[in-house]
């Protein structure tokens, strides 16, 4: 009886076996990495906007308070995007003829709002109340990163459910005094943060991690 297979097939067969084993593990690792990479989460990815607005310039360099434009952040469920009027309150005076701001002037003229691309867009099945987070001592920078250093706006955090849970499970590791909410540079060493955090949890009546991770807290 003649040989059916070439001797090299032994090596090929063994390689296939190992390849299959590594293939399975590799696929899982790939899947894991992909779902957390900017491809999926858009962290650090700049969105194309109708107007190239720089938070770095307005907030960082000029020092305009967050609340000047996002007026409802503290009490509303939704941190609003300012209407064209807010922009024009300054830009009717300065850079009034800048070609970069033409869409803003057009919007004012036509009454059609600017169509900003939302950078932080949670899915509809996740209930999110912006005001409560501010009231309980979550700083802007905790979720939005150093906006004052962003020439164009991007997501600083992945906004995945596991990321949300990270804070909901241990709120004390992220809370800060209400007076420091809008302070972009606020940070404490870990031990001190835990101490302060625990005090704030008590003071602000923040619920325990167990209740904050109930399904119905976010999925109502």
């Amino acid at each position: 009886m003649p040989q059916i297979f070439h001797p090299a097939m032994n090596t090929v067969a063994r390689l296939t076996v190992f390849g299959a084993a590594f293939g399975v593990v590799g696929t899982i690792v790939l899947f894991y990495e992909y779902s957390r990479s900017p491809f999926q989460t858009e962290v650090n990815v700049v969105r194309e906007q109708p107007v190239q607005f720089s938070h770095e310039h307005h907030s960082g360099q000029l020092g305009i308070d967050c609340r000047y434009c996002h007026t409802t952040v503290e009490n509303g469920p939704f941190a609003n995007i300012p209407p064209t009027h807010t922009c024009m309150s300054c830009h009717s005076q300065i850079w009034a003829d800048s070609p970069m701001l033409k869409p803003v002037r057009d919007s004012l003229a036509s009454g059609e709002p600017l169509r900003w691309e939302r950078v932080h867009d949670l899915p509809d099945f996740a209930y999110f109340e912006h005001g409560i987070h501010i009231q309980k001592g979550v700083g802007c920078a905790s979720c939005h990163g150093r906006v004052d250093e962003m020439p164009l706006t991007w997501k600083a955090e992945p906004l995945t459910m596991e990321w949300c849970l990270d804070c909901h499970r241990h709120p004390e590791t992220h809370l800060r005094p209400r007076s420091e909410i809008f302070n972009m540079e606020y940070s404490l060493p870990e031990r001190e943060q835990n101490m302060v955090g625990k005090r704030l949890v008590r003071e602000y009546g923040v619920q325990s991690g167990y209740y904050l991770t109930n399904c119905t807290v976010c999925h109502r």
């Binding site: 009886m1 059916i4 067969a13 899947f31 894991y32 779902s35 459910m161 596991e162």
Partner: protein, 464 residues
């Protein structure tokens, strides 16, 4: 066989292998089905019909994926319609193969040898059909992988306290282990086919599958141990699978579902329907391929006895359910089991189920009936029908009258329900036709062993 005076009787009864066979004739006869006379008119016709039916399945599943489960008759409160009925039916059928292979191997029952391969293949294909149904029954079927644990960005795990998750694990484990067991049994046989194939393509195909098996004594040594251990593992596994399927129902507190006898009674029912399906398929196979030498009357009779035994266990389950419904203090159970089933909207189906599962099978008490192949085949068909009806009664009748009369509603299957059911039968048959065509339907290595054991003298005039 052992009862002392039985030894004399055993010789007079039909043997497990007709006399006059040698290693070579067995090998040649079985491998010829695959190698030398593959495309017979009957095979082509049968496969064509099965393939057509399979396409019915493909069309109905494609349409389902386009339109959603609304094309079926499911509604509120009958949310588990045909899909779950078919699932339980198929997974039950998928129990006989492993039972024959594993349990009868452990019990040292020689008669299993010529039917185990076929029964295992049947198991695999039935499990494939079964596994499909819960999947397409999901509203968002493309998210089925949520049933399995994986490191997702939601930080969520499957709900381990839900029997539906256990089911996902049980069915996929069962499918995997059955596949491994089946493939392991096939290795020596595909090696035979590799060595006997004449075409280049066949040699490569079977050569790949055989993985270089050469019948070495060292290999056989480990192979046998591993095979026996696989049998020992598969036996509790097969029991666990239908137990978990029964928990899908019994863990819920729906009247008619929440009954403690469900685990053993589902297992008995699964074996019952599985053996019925083996008989349904193997009787024509034996006839058309002339395998009467290997699948003898002894096999058919033994399977008939198992059919009777498991049928009685199933009846015991019905009896206990009815008695405890009366005896127990749950009035919803009483309403469901004592009134809705026998006298409610679906009463004709219930009585048809009782006739086909409990009454018809009693004929098998009589040896004359067990030995009449046509009768046996008809009974097996009846049991297949009866076991399907049983699942229908459990699923639909229990659901259609909820606790609140405002939610009472009838369930009527649509044409798409039927198309999916019959299509799945087509898929099952098509896979079986392909199996019979491309792989040895009877284990040659084990048959040779049987011949070897029958040969030597000194076994007290054993004529086998």
């Amino acid at each position: 066989m052992a009862a002392d005076a039985n030894i004399g009787r055993e010789q007079s009864g039909p043997p497990v292998l007709s006399p006059g066979h040698s290693f070579a004739t067995i090998t040649d006869k079985i491998s010829a089905i695959v190698l030398t006379r593959p495309y017979q008119r009957g095979w082509i016709l049968g496969f064509a019909i099965a393939f057509l039916l399979t396409n019915v399945l493909f069309v109905s599943v494609a349409y389902l994926f386009m339109r959603g489960v609304g094309i079926w008759g499911v509604n509120v409160p009958v949310m588990w319609g045909f899909a779950i009925v078919n699932f339980v039916w198929w997974i039950g059928i998928g129990h006989a193969g492993t039972l024959i292979s594993a349990i009868l191997l452990l019990l040292k029952q020689e008669w299993r040898t010529s039917i185990n391969r076929f029964a295992e293949a049947m198991t695999l294909f039935a499990v494939a059909c079964a596994g499909m149904f819960p999947l397409i029954h999901l509203g968002r079927w493309w998210l089925f992988y949520w049933l399995f644990p994986y490191p997702n960005t939601m930080d969520l795990w499957p709900q381990w306290r839900s029997p539906l998750v256990w089911d996902a694990f049980a069915v996929s484990t069962y499918a995997t282990v059955s596949l491994l067991f089946w493939y392991m049994g096939l290795i020596p046989d595909v090696a035979t086919l590799r060595d006997r194939a004449r075409g280049r393509l066949g040699r490569y195909f079977y050569g790949f599958l055989a993985m270089g098996w050469r019948g070495s004594a060292r290999h056989w040594h480990r192979y046998q141990t591993a095979y026996l251990l696989m049998a020992a593992l598969a036996t509790p596994l097969v029991v666990s699978v239908h137990t978990i399927v029964s928990w899908d129902f019994a863990v819920a507190i729906v009247p008619g579902w929440h009954s403690t006898i469900f685990p053993p009674y589902f297992v008995a029912g699964a074996i019952y329907s599985g053996f019925a399906m083996v008989l349904t398929l193997i009787i024509p196979l034996r006839y058309f391929y002339g395998l009467g030498d290997f699948i003898t009357m002894r096999h058919l009779e033994n399977m008939a006895k198992i059919l009777l035994a498991t049928g009685l266990l199933v009846c015991y389950g019905y009896l206990m359910e009815a008695f405890m419904a009366w005896y127990g203090d749950n009035r919803f159970d009483r309403f469901q089991i004592l009134r809705e089933r026998p006298r409610g909207d679906y009463a004709p189906l219930y009585w048809l189920l009782i006739v086909s599962n409990c009454l018809v099978v009693q004929a098998l008490w009589f040896p004359a009936m067990r030995r009449r192949v046509v009768v046996l085949w008809l009974i097996s068909l009846t049991v297949n029908l009866g076991m399907w009806l049983e699942r229908f009664v459990i699923v639909v009748v229990s659901l259609h009258k909820d606790y609140m009369p405002s939610r009472w509603r009838m369930y009527f299957p649509t044409a798409w329900d039927y198309a999916t059911l019959f299509g799945s039968v087509g898929l099952f048959l098509a896979l079986l036709f392909l199996f019979v065509r491309f792989l040895p339907a009877i284990s040659m290595a084990e048959m040779r062993e049987l011949v070897h054991e029958a040969e030597p003298v000194g076994h007290g005039g054993d004529s086998r």
